[in-house]
Symmetry: C2
Subunit: 234 residues, 2 copies
DNA sequence: TCTTTTTCTGACCGATCGTGCAGAAATACC
DNA sequence: GGTATTTCTGCACGATCGGTCAGAAAAAGA
């Protein structure tokens, strides 16, 4: 998977050049660096999701990660740089989830796999989705460049695939763009609005069985509008 | 439309009792009060949407409303009280939008009207939707009581209506709960993610024609999974 | 007019924020 | 061992926050 280069723009580690030069001789330190940064990123994803960008304080992120505030600043020089890394991670994950949308694949299976994977991510990585939602709601004040450079071209490539399916007569001639938006909306809804869904589920989180029902229902609703008319449909 | 009493809980105006008693004799002052509070509420809805609860400062809301900060505090004693009023307003509007979901109405038309109205609101009142999304994403730290008291019963009533439609054989036996979630997700997506959609539209807002296409596409996708099989479908 | 009530505002307080920085502590390198 | 580099941390600074309060200004009531 292509790394999210756009988000690293403002990162210029004093140490990174050196550690690239002497990479083989400094294994232990590098491993610790990765462990700590991973712990900070996980904590940041959770805190940014639960409090928003403005409401998330570095000290709270540090507390969740079990580190002093200064240590977080040491690894991620500014709050904004840390935030960009968090947003970039979820975007990379989402992008990989759409690998099944390729011209050679069967449309219904490909879209079904995409929905399944995206709903799995809604369950396993809900914080990342919430951070993304917050950023977009607030008009992408920090990652707007990324929307224009990466998201735009990526989206148009996927639309081209769906258009090809339509031209080949493999699916109904629906609007590819609105289909993508529909999939994004419904799958991310189950991540971003987890709390509402849980409250409407008598306050208890969805069970494995309920998540499977959700997957089936979402695919049923969405793909019913995509699949070619089946005269044998009950 | 039933007012949103739950959100007024913590409001206890020093003046409200008096102004109720002498309502007829104090027309001018009351009118001003309503004008100013309306302007504050509009500004607050916008600022809460764009910066989140933590990021929205009273001084910024006041600046947007064209008032000194102290004046905002005078009318809404705390930031939290002002926020509750804003969230309550959008919820009341959304609740009214679902009036068409009644047993006696034709399912397809009723759901289509609901989707149309909700998408109109996504265009005309996008800030309210964003405030709601932010609140839910952050696990409803301020209006959780309202979710449990109002949203839960309201949702179950709508589910009962859809269940009745299914029992009458008017629609396919889909999951009413997931259908509601799907409608919420897709309609609110066009409000909450307006900025992403605009960016993917070459940076220009959707035109009237594009909004009509959106309505048609959303209804096509969703209602196709709801309507009974039509053997004449092209 | 005089009094009372309501409306409005600037000044201020304690708390928290992001971040810079000096220097301690730990590790790597020779 | 000693030196250099990286890692880590406490402290301090200016800015901004939500909210209080005294009192001015305006309106209402008599």
């Amino acid at each position: 998977m292509k790394p999210c280069a756009g988000f690293a723009r403002k990162r210029a580690w004093k140490a990174s050049v050196k550690s690239d030069v002497n990479k083989t001789t400094r294994g232990i330190q590098s491993r610790n660096r990765e462990e700590v940064t991973a712990r900070i990123l996980a904590a940041a994803e959770k805190v940014f999701a639960e409090f928003g960008y403005a409401g998330a304080s570095i000290s709270r992120i540090a507390a969740v990660a079990g580190l002093p505030k200064s240590n977080v600043v040491y690894y991620f020089e500014t709050k904004e740089a840390l935030y960009r890394r968090v947003v970039g991670e979820i975007f990379d994950i989402w992008r990989a989830a759409a690998d099944s949308i390729a011209t050679d694949n069967d449309p219904i299976h490909a879209l079904g796999d995409y929905i399944d994977t995206k709903l799995d991510l809604a369950r396993t990585r809900p914080y990342g989705s919430k951070v993304w939602a917050n950023e977009i709601i607030q008009r992408a004040p920090i990652v707007q460049d990324y929307l224009e450079e990466e998201l735009r071209s990526w989206t148009e490539n996927r639309i081209a695939v769906i258009d090809a399916w339509i031209e080949n007569g493999q699916i109904r001639p629906i609007s590819p763009r609105h289909l993508l938006y529909a999939i994004w909306a419904m799958t991310q809804h189950y991540a971003d609005f987890t709390h509402q869904i849980t409250t409407l589920n008598d306050g208890v989180e969805l069970t494995d069985a309920q998540w499977n029902e959700t997957k089936a229902a979402v695919k049923d609703l969405l793909l019913c509008g995509v699949a070619l008319p089946d005269l044998n449909r009950a």
